[in-house]
Symmetry: C2
Subunit: 438 residues, 2 copies
């Protein structure tokens, strides 16, 4: 009976946390409890689709579906042979028009996917990205690209996705307290989420792992509800996870994102202009935005990153951080779109020069073993704490896209402790005690 209590709590937790939808490159579909006995309790509902997986898998899974009710969640994406021009619903209203924020965000992340993959392939020189395109009949889909066992990277995944879903009304209220009283309490709220997510794990232990993720989320007005306004949020970040510290690399990386501050200063003016145009109920939100809005974005998002990528049970961060922000909606929407675009476009200049310098450095088995231990920490963070991954696992998203973030190989030694003052010790110290790099 205890299990039932837990199960209920867990499900509630998940469904209330609508913002986590941002994180998963392919999160979607019906949510179910995380108990061990397979049961299903849908909270986010997507249309079901016929299975079009390769023959080998289909045989195994169809067999399985007769013995476990939850198996039907697995095969809901439809593989596509070609990339569509857009994953947006073309029959929809203005929300999905070419000039909408969602359309421009999708265009931006698809261009970012292309440019990052091109840069990776050019530097790798050997590996090529394998592409999987998938869709859902009700709208939405994604492009997963993975380069595995290349010359420079052991695993590099760059995914984009577009998700249409429905969240329970209580989740909507929790996510948007200002407008909660407008929402019809009994009507599920349709939502839209799109994002790019990438993890790049190089082979050389002196070359750092990079993760970045930028995402945009909207709720739609329920069709049978009056006056529930549309909500939107931005989230994202880019962070560096080396096994060894080269201070010049970390400074270069952080500087790339600090420079965005001045970009934001320019945009501040346009925000003030917007504020003046706002009507009554909006002012509360926008006033708060103005109070917060200053050129301290970098220190704020840097600290947010240090706090987010925290492996609590280890008392360590996963890596050396970067920037991170989430649930941002109290700034001008156009400004945040520009900011996310600028961040995504900063990935290549921030990361590739570091890889160029480190990819061919000679290393020993001990260096490699330490890298593998840190990869173990990466796995721990992603499976236990990362909101996108844990949400994706619970809701039955495309599992291969979600777990492409895991490294090709990882290692766990019992009670490993680096020698004080060693290079390994310095990295661990920086993960335990975050540093100001600039």
């Amino acid at each position: 009976m205890l299990t039932t209590i837990i199960s209920a709590s867990t499900t509630t937790t998940t469904t209330y946390h609508s913002a986590t939808i941002f994180f998963s490159s392919s999160s979607s579909s019906s949510s179910s409890s995380s108990t061990n006995t397979p049961t299903s309790s849908s909270t986010l509902v997507f249309p079901k689709t016929l299975t079009v997986t390769p023959k080998r898998t289909r045989l195994l899974r169809l067999h399985a579906s007769s013995s476990s009710s939850s198996m039907s969640m697995i095969d809901k994406e439809t593989p596509e042979l070609q990339r569509p021009h857009t994953f947006l619903r073309q029959w929809n209203d203005d929300s999905d028009s070419n000039s909408s924020v969602r359309a421009r965000f999708e265009k931006m992340i698809r261009e970012a996917q292309d440019s990052v993959c091109s840069a990776i392939e050019a530097v790798d020189g050997g590996g090529k990205f394998q592409e999987d395109v998938w869709s859902r009949p009700g709208g939405g889909g994604g492009i997963s690209r993975v380069l595995q066992d290349g010359a420079v990277w052991e695993k590099a995944g760059v995914n984009v996705s577009v998700v249409y879903g429905v969240m329970p009304p209580e989740a909507y209220r929790a996510a948007s307290p200002v407008h909660a009283h407008h929402a019809n309490s009994s009507v599920p709220v349709p939502f839209f989420a799109t994002g790019i997510s990438s993890v790049l794990h190089p082979k050389n232990p002196f070359a750092p792992t990079l993760h970045f993720n930028y995402r945009y989320f909207e709720t739609e007005t329920p069709k049978d509800s009056q006056g529930a306004p549309r909500q939107w949020w931005f989230g994202g970040g880019t962070d560096l996870t080396p096994a060894y510290i080269f201070e010049e690399d970390v400074k270069h990386f952080h500087l790339e994102f600090k420079l965005l501050d001045s970009f934001l200063d320019l945009l501040q003016l346009s925000l003030w202009k917007k504020v003046k145009e706002l009507v009554a109920t909006e002012v509360v939100v926008q006033k708060r935005a103005c109070d917060k809005f200053d050129s301290s974005f970098y220190p704020r998002f840097k600290k947010w990153c240090d706090d987010y990528f925290y492996i609590k049970h280890r008392g360590e961060r996963r890596g050396l951080g970067g920037i991170f922000f989430d649930d941002l909606n109290d700034y001008d929407q156009e400004m945040l779109l520009s900011f996310a675009t600028e961040c995504a476009n900063s990935v290549v200049p921030a990361y590739i020069p570091i890889i160029e310098k480190r990819k061919d450095m000679p290393f020993t088995d001990q260096h490699k073993a330490w890298q593998q231990l840190r990869r173990g920490r990466y796995v721990e963070f992603n499976l236990v704490y990362d909101r996108g991954t844990t949400f994706g696992l619970k809701t039955g998203g495309r599992i291969e896209s979600i777990l492409v973030s895991l490294p090709l190989t990882a290692r766990w030694e019992y009670n490993h402790q680096p020698e004080e003052g060693s290079e390994e010790w310095k990295l661990l110290d920086a993960c335990i005690n975050p540093k100001e790099w600039l």
Copy 2:
């Protein structure tokens, strides 16, 4: 603000789930939320202790504690130079006397630890177990033994622990509905938990991984409360996780545990005797026990095992199962102590003969890669679903003991699918569609 909602839910979930305490070989101490921003909200309270960790680590962690309030949770065990005769509080009442169930259970698991470690070392021929003994000033402690990078096993951990803690009154009520009305609603309930937990990962891909865990849990009567009866539960199981199926091995393994049925049949008589002695309120529980009690233990616990070790996001079991039971308290207490003892003593005869046959079989790089992929699944199950591991991570138990269950090395390939009909495919099929082996 969403994070706060989640944090509160998660904490409540943990504290209500008293039964999970069983699972962790070293779970204990103050629970705190699993949010990313380090915060602390104690629910299970242990006395704090001074840090006596090795110098290298202490320097790193003490530095860290100044920047994060949650760090103080990390160093709460005191390393000991010698194994004590018992981890029970010797100054306590009859609960901890030599004839108590808790004392006999501790004796049993410590003997099982010795015999399993001896058997492993004898077969390994090269590796020796490294032992860490630790205690807590308020009572309790544990012995962690790890053999790493041996001749036969890449990692073998065998841990015992004894934990004294305090659970909130609502957790006690949730755990013992029949007696809920007796409990003083405002008084935290002290509990006692002890168990043995082991994971054995061999090197040879044809030699299976074994996990077993047997545990006993009690609540104590709060000192300032009248009439709250003591509750107790047993839990445990033994399961096999091969990368390749040798049907004779799996049958041999399952048979060892099926044979326990006849043992239980003999004990059934003593249960009936007990039932006749029961008073009014006990009858509800014991009647249910009698209704359930029959010689179908094996099929019941076999299915429980298949259900428990389920990697929901993969639609696969971790391995080929064995037996599993939890929260058992509706049988005769002596019978369950004997049953757990018999199960623990069955580990060596069930497992060692399989290892003897498989440890020197020749294998290819492909066999090894498949084993590593299955090790990846093992990591996924343990970090995402295993109740003992997840509880231990949340409550700040001894992290090296909790995560000793992870393999030395693991691997994740994007979208790996074994060829239909191959040996790898057969294993995967059996993990997706559990089989009756006997």
